[in-house]
């Protein structure tokens, strides 16, 4: 776990409740491999969704696997782009360019599954 941002030690979101608790701080990681169009699209889509849903309480980390390839193994990344919700727990993984907003919201637990 040697990313740019160190792990928060004892985070207030340790309580079991997941989902839309508005007080929680969100940490989202976007894994990309170079500045491909898919990756750029994903970043744009992600920023848009976050701005709409989590304004002011989210943080996006971009990890370029071309720069640090061993992280693909350490973080079990196969598909590019992959979005990982580090916080709040539990960790969620979403792949694709995030163009399907509906599925992104479900994947991030911002919207319940029907």
């Amino acid at each position: 776990m040697k990313t740019k941002t160190s792990e928060p030690k004892a985070h207030p979101t340790d309580h079991k409740k997941s989902g839309n608790k508005s007080a929680d701080k969100w940490i989202l990681r976007l894994y990309i491999a170079g500045q491909t169009s898919k990756c750029q699209t994903a970043f744009i889509n992600l920023t848009k969704i976050c701005e709409e849903q989590l304004k002011g309480r989210y943080k996006i980390e971009i990890i370029d696997l071309l720069i640090d390839p061993k992280l693909s193994r350490e973080h079990q990344i196969l598909a590019i782009p992959t979005l990982v919700r580090k916080l709040p727990v539990p960790v969620r993984k979403i792949i694709g360019d995030l163009s399907n907003t509906e599925r992104v919201l479900i994947g991030l637990d911002l919207k319940s599954r029907d």
């Binding site: 894994y31 491999a33 491909t36 898919k38 699209t41 994903a42 889509n45 696997l65 071309l66 390839p69 061993k70 693909s72 193994r73 079990q76 990344i77 196969l78 598909a79 590019i80 782009p81 992959t82 979005l83 969620r92 993984k93 979403i94 792949i95 694709g96 360019d97 995030l98 163009s99 399907n100 599925r103 992104v104 479900i106 994947g107």
Partner: protein, 575 residues
């Protein structure tokens, strides 16, 4: 096992040797270098093992480090699974020869939200390859990706790209795939891999399982097309393509005594050829094992090693039984010159037996191998398999210049000259032991049906099991046929009697002549005596008569004198 390169079809296609016994032979040198090989087969047939052995051997023996991408098992599981085969993945990982990368896939955790590719996987593999300079890559089982991602279109495109990319990287890749219904793999991986496809199979027939391997396709190279049995045991994978061994072995001219002097005499005076195959066949109880034990004992006595595969008796039973006819095998066992390996033919499949035998021969390096009896492999309807197995065993031993003695039990009723295992054509020396039933007893006869390359006896000899081992006797062959046992003894006694009688007769005649001569001589003597007597008598009479005449003359003269007449005495007076 080493004749690989000579038959290599295409010299331009370089190969990546697997180092697996036999596999390099059927693939003419290994997997295609820098290309992708697909190994497919049903569950539990050894795909992963073959792939991992390819990597481990590459790393250990060919200095080609490898990357193992495991989609199914975790690193820990994998390491534990192969440690029993002597592959220490952790150690190899420490030496930077192997990288094991477990790709964790769980569909439920992943939400797909649009376009994506598998660049992450490429980066992972690429990174693993570059950290150790890998030349070999295994993807086990890449099909798992299909359960991890829901969009097959993307996956197929990515797989195609992946294989192309691996080829560009110049790594030799092995992918494994589970066998599908009617297709080689469930996801049709074979359509991406066109260079080399290998099928593994695991079949159970007659309650014994046999694993088989077949090279379905090998672009640009010749390959063995048969199904070859293979084995997985504590030393890993081994394929036995013995049928591909050509008839190239050199014929030895050295001789090896059979352990029975009389038999050596029958075999041109010197015994078997070194490196030849000897078949001792016969019905039950004709002394096949005894002959084999004799041979073993004599070989061990000369300080050479014997490997004895006993398929019906336990070693101690063999030793005890042979002790009863004066052959002691225990000392040779103690010195390690004689090794017994007892196994039940039904214990495992024929291929397993064959491989076990190979392994043991390789490890023990004997100069003589004995299989007692070889036809016990024939169980049920596996005639064809048993035959091919025996052939391969004989071929193999010949190629290694090991003298092999097989015993074969001929079942009653069948022709003696026919072995159940149909290997007779491969055999150099065939000794037939048979019962000779005569006069209410069974005796053992031995004869040499054939012995290639030597002047051998064509005689049927009687074969005795004595306290001091095997002894051969001349059988009586005469007007009354072949006589053995007590019939032979009786005949011999009769002959002795006859000859005594004849000599007595001769003596009698001699005496008679002598006597006749004596009689004749006696008679001659008698006649002579008689004649002499008569002669003497006659002479005496004659003398007397002369005296008388003389006296008369004298008297007449005197008378005339007295008459003073001088006249001649007249004859008238006298008469």
């Amino acid at each position: 096992m080493k004749k690989v390169s000579s038959r290599n079809g295409n010299p331009h296609l370089s190969k990546s040797p697997t180092g697996i016994q036999g596999l390099d032979e059927i693939t003419s040198g290994g997997f295609p270098k820098g290309r992708t090989t697909l190994i497919c087969g049903s569950a539990g047939c050894g795909k992963t093992l073959l792939a991992i052995e390819f990597l481990v051997r590459g790393a250990r023996e060919f200095n080609e480090p490898g990357v193992f991408v495991a989609f199914e098992e975790t690193n820990k599981e994998l390491t534990e699974n192969v440690i029993s085969l002597g592959f220490d993945l952790e150690e190899l990982a420490r030496q930077k020869k192997i990288v094991v990368d477990h790709v964790h896939l769980e569909r439920s955790e992943i939400e797909e939200t649009g376009e994506y590719d598998l660049e992450g996987l490429f980066i992972r593999i690429g990174h693993a390859i570059s950290t150790i300079g890998a030349k070999r890559v295994v993807l086990d089982t890449i099909e798992s990706l299909f359960s991890g991602f829901s969009n097959p279109l993307i996956l197929r495109a990515e797989l195609r790209r992946l294989f192309r990319w691996l080829k560009e990287k110049g790594v030799t890749t092995v992918i494994t795939g589970e066998r599908g219904d009617g297709t080689l793999t469930r996801q049709g991986l074979e359509e991406y891999v066109s260079d080399c496809v290998i099928i593994l199979d695991h079949r159970v027939t007659e309650q014994t399982s046999t694993r088989r391997i077949r090279v379905v396709k090998y672009r640009g190279s010749t390959h063995g097309t048969n199904e070859y049995p293979f084995l997985i045991d504590e030393t890993g994978f081994s394929v036995i393509p013995i049928t591909s061994v050509g008839l190239t072995y050199e014929a030895a001219t050295g001789r090896i005594p059979s352990g029975v002097d009389d038999l050596d005499q029958m075999l041109g005076g010197k015994g078997y050829f070194v490196g030849s195959s000897i078949l001792v066949s016969g019905t039950a109880g004709t002394g096949k094992s005894s002959l084999a034990a004799h041979f073993s004992e004599s070989v061990c006595r000369r300080g050479e090693k014997v490997l004895y595969f006993s398929l019906e008796e336990s070693p101690s039973q063999v030793i005890r039984n042979m002790g009863s006819i004066g052959i002691s095998l225990a000392p040779a066992m103690k010195t390690g010159l004689l090794m017994f390996h007892a196994m039940r033919p039904t214990f495992c499949g024929l291929e397993m037996h064959l491989t076990t035998m190979h392994r043991m021969v390789e490890a023990f390096n004997p100069s003589v191998v004995i299989v007692d009896p070889i036809n016990s492999f024939l169980t049920g309807n596996n005639e064809l398999e048993a035959k091919s197995m025996s052939m391969r065993l004989i071929d193999y031993l010949k190629a290694r210049k090991i003298t092999a003695l097989f015993t074969s039990l001929t079942t009653g009723g069948s022709q003696l000259e026919r072995t159940d295992i149909f290997i007779s054509s491969l055999i150099d020396t065939w000794i037939l032991l048979r019962d000779i039933e005569l006069g209410g007893e069974r005796n053992r006869g031995i004869y040499i049906l054939k012995s290639r390359g030597m002047a051998h006896s064509n005689q049927i000899r009687e074969f005795l099991l004595t306290d001091h081992g095997i002894k051969l006797r001349d059988v009586y062959v005469g007007m009354e046929g072949v006589l053995t046992g007590s019939a032979r003894q009786a005949q011999e006694a009769r002959e002795r009697e006859d000859s005594i009688k004849r000599s007595l007769e001769i003596d009698g005649r001699k005496n008679a002549i002598l006597r006749k001569r004596q009689v004749m001589e006696a008679r001659i003597a008698a006649i002579k005596a008689e004649f002499e007597a008569e002669e003497a008598e006659s002479l005496k009479i004659l003398a007397t008569d002369q005296d008388k005449i003389d006296n008369i003359d004298k008297e007449q003269a005197e008378m005339a004198k007295s008459r003073k007449a001088g006249f001649e005495p007249s004859l008238e007076n006298k008469s």
